[in-house]
Amino acid sequence: MSIVTVQLGQCGNQIGHEVFNAICSDIHGTHGLCSKKENESYRDACKERFFCEEESEVPIARAVLVDMEPKVISQTLSMAARSGYWKYDDRSRFCQKQGSGNNWANGYSVHGPRHKEVIMNLVQKEAEKCDRLGGFFTIMSMAGGTGSGLGAFVTQCLRDAFPTSFILNHVIWPYSTGEVIVQNYNSVLTLSHLYQSSDALLVHENDVIHKICAQLMNIKQMSFRDVNQVIAHQLGSVFQPTYTAEGGLHYSRNPLGSFRDPSLYTSWLNPRDAFNAWKTPRAFNKYEKSAALVSNSQFLLKPLDNVVGKAWNMFASKAYIHQYTKFGIEEEDFLDSFTALEQVISSYTIL
């Protein structure tokens, strides 16, 4: 089963590179307590999932790189090739000469449609290389210009072209004290559009990762690389192959069994359906034992409410709206987005 990754914008490309790095180093890393045979099947499954092994020397990541400017993509491509363990396909990239100036509407209404065919051709090529396409994994930031507007548009195109595929969007939640003044507008627009086409949104909050780096890992001079590597490590541990879930018997021996406390779950879904544990004896990224928890819960309720609230306040005074209307995103579209997100907030509130 293979996954095609679509790296969108500066954020998407940098994180994507770290993710493939983490996975690749995991493949070549220690296999901990499991047997050699176990390790081999783990490696084979993982390689098929993320890499394409042609006659070339190193495995090629199953990815499409998209950005409005060429700098980040070239950096990403060369860093990967330099590692010696893996690389990207040079042809699997799309970039323009100039950026879109952090303008969501520009990315969504102008660049998106203009370059749709070229980008989707690249995606199609990657998809055809897979014997079994498990789905798409897109990486993007929510509040930036290119990544978010174009990303929302590309996700829609993916859904139209592959109606039966699974689409997972990885979104980076901006710093709450971020620098981009219209980041809340961008976030609202991105989320409401992604919600329509995507199957699942996996969120990493910059604030939270920042705390992990600063407090847990004690990194003094934090760079984006550190942040991205933490994100990549978490994603990697979630994406790597595991045994398919066995029956209820496994749970009682599972140290994570405490997760069956009914107060953790909604009233309308019992813990057995809501909680799934996947295990593997194979160590991940030099950690002999590690666990990752992915949850669909009220965790994001406050941040989401925050972002929507701030965006609404700005919208009430029509601040900066002209930047969007001049590219075709009207006030009505804003209202639709607000409505959609209010619905999401209310469903999660009464969970």
């Binding site: 014997d131 079994r132 595929s165 699974f166 909604t266 309308w268 879904l269 409505t339």
Partner: protein, 347 residues
């Protein structure tokens, strides 16, 4: 079928017939029946599912102590109605591995059933199911269906690889390529013994079936003779009375079908298991390239045709879905109008 019952029959031909039937059944089923509660119940429900509506059978006790005549009648009904033996033979065939199932049939929902969804069931609060659970379930089902779809696509992709790479290697010039089973045999020749066993067993079944076919009329004759024991059975009447007439009618119908096929565009609905066969692009061919789907000796259908039909069906279903959604939306709007301070925002 109890042996005790069969001894009432007279005539050597009939006992020959029945022994042929028994050996056929033995070969096909190869199971020993112990009458258990569950067994009886599942037999009854299976018969009900297929539309057997003779009440005497359903009144039989669940311990298997009585009713061998009714069972015999039910069995005969299955033989006639479902082409039971032919179906079993088809199912037990040695697989090529290239099989796929096709269905382009229209839904046969009678119009009367369409109104059923409008009737609101009388649910008390205790029986209520949270709609969010249903939404969750729906999402889960959709995800599982998609996984199945992806696996199926993978299967087709790999099958295509096999067909492509073994093109030109097969003894059968028309077919041209290996099937999955044959390819597997090339890779693991030591498995030939198992394959041989399966083929021999299939041959045995076919021979037993042929034997049965020769003697079948005797069986029906005997059943009709004993009809008074069973009461009125329309299918028994028709079986003997019209047996030969039907044969003539069938062959006439077949001839007509051939004529219509030649004169008019095909409107057959494909249904059932088929073998996927690879046909490379021929510049002279009218049907175009791509895989064909051939059904034994019957007409071959090209995959592109089936795809086109299915796409038309999909489009019509989508239109229907859209219409139903509109109706639901209108209903919800009407309901919302009746409530104070409530607006309906449709998804």
């Amino acid at each position: 079928m109890s042996a005790r019952h069969l001894s009432l029959i007279q005539g050597p031909s009939l006992s020959l017939c029945c022994s042929a039937l028994i050996s056929l059944c033995y070969v096909l089923f190869s199971i020993v029946f112990f009458f258990s509660d569950n067994q009886i119940r599942s037999v009854k429900s299976a018969l009900w599912y297929h539309g057997y509506d003779r009440p005497e059978l359903y009144r039989l006790p669940s311990d298997g102590s009585a009713g061998s005549r009714e069972l015999l009648l039910a069995f005969s009904w299955l033989l006639h109605r479902l082409s039971l033996l032919e179906q079993l033979l088809a199912r037990n065939r040695v697989k090529t591995g290239d099989e796929t199932s096709v269905c382009t049939c229209e839904d046969d929902l009678p119009n009367s059933q369409k109104g059923i969804t409008e009737i609101a069931p009388e649910y008390g609060l205790e029986d209520a199911v949270d709609v969010r659970y249903l939404q969750w379930l729906n999402g889960r089902l959709r995800f599982q269906w998609r996984s199945l779809h992806a696996q199926h696509q993978e299967l087709c992709k790999l099958l295509h690889k096999i067909h492509l790479f073994t093109s030109g290697s097969h003894m059968d010039q028309i077919l041209g390529h290996f099937s999955v089973t044959e390819t597997d045999l090339v890779r693991q020749p030591e498995n030939y013994k198992q394959l041989l066993q399966l083929l021999e067993s299939e041959t045995m079944q076919l021979e037993a079936f042929l034997e049965w076919k020769q003697l079948e009329p005797v069986y029906w004759q005997w059943m009709v003779m004993n009809q008074t024991d069973f009461g009125r059975c329309s299918f028994l009447d028709s079986n003997i009375a019209d047996h030969f007439q039907r044969k003539i009618q069938e062959s006439v119908e077949l001839k007509l079908l051939d004529l219509t096929y030649l004169c008019a565009p095909k409107k057959n609905k494909m249904h059932g298991s088929c073998r996927l066969v690879f046909r490379s692009k021929h510049p002279a061919s009218k049907t175009g390239f791509g895989r064909s789907v051939s059904k034994e000796h019957v007409s071959a259908v090209s995959a592109t045709e089936v795809i086109r039909e299915l796409q038309m069906r999909e489009a019509s279903l989508e239109r229907e879905l859209k219409q139903l959604r509109e109706e639901c939306r209108q209903r919800l709007d009407e309901i919302a109008e009746g409530l104070d301070g409530v607006i309906c925002i449709s998804p």
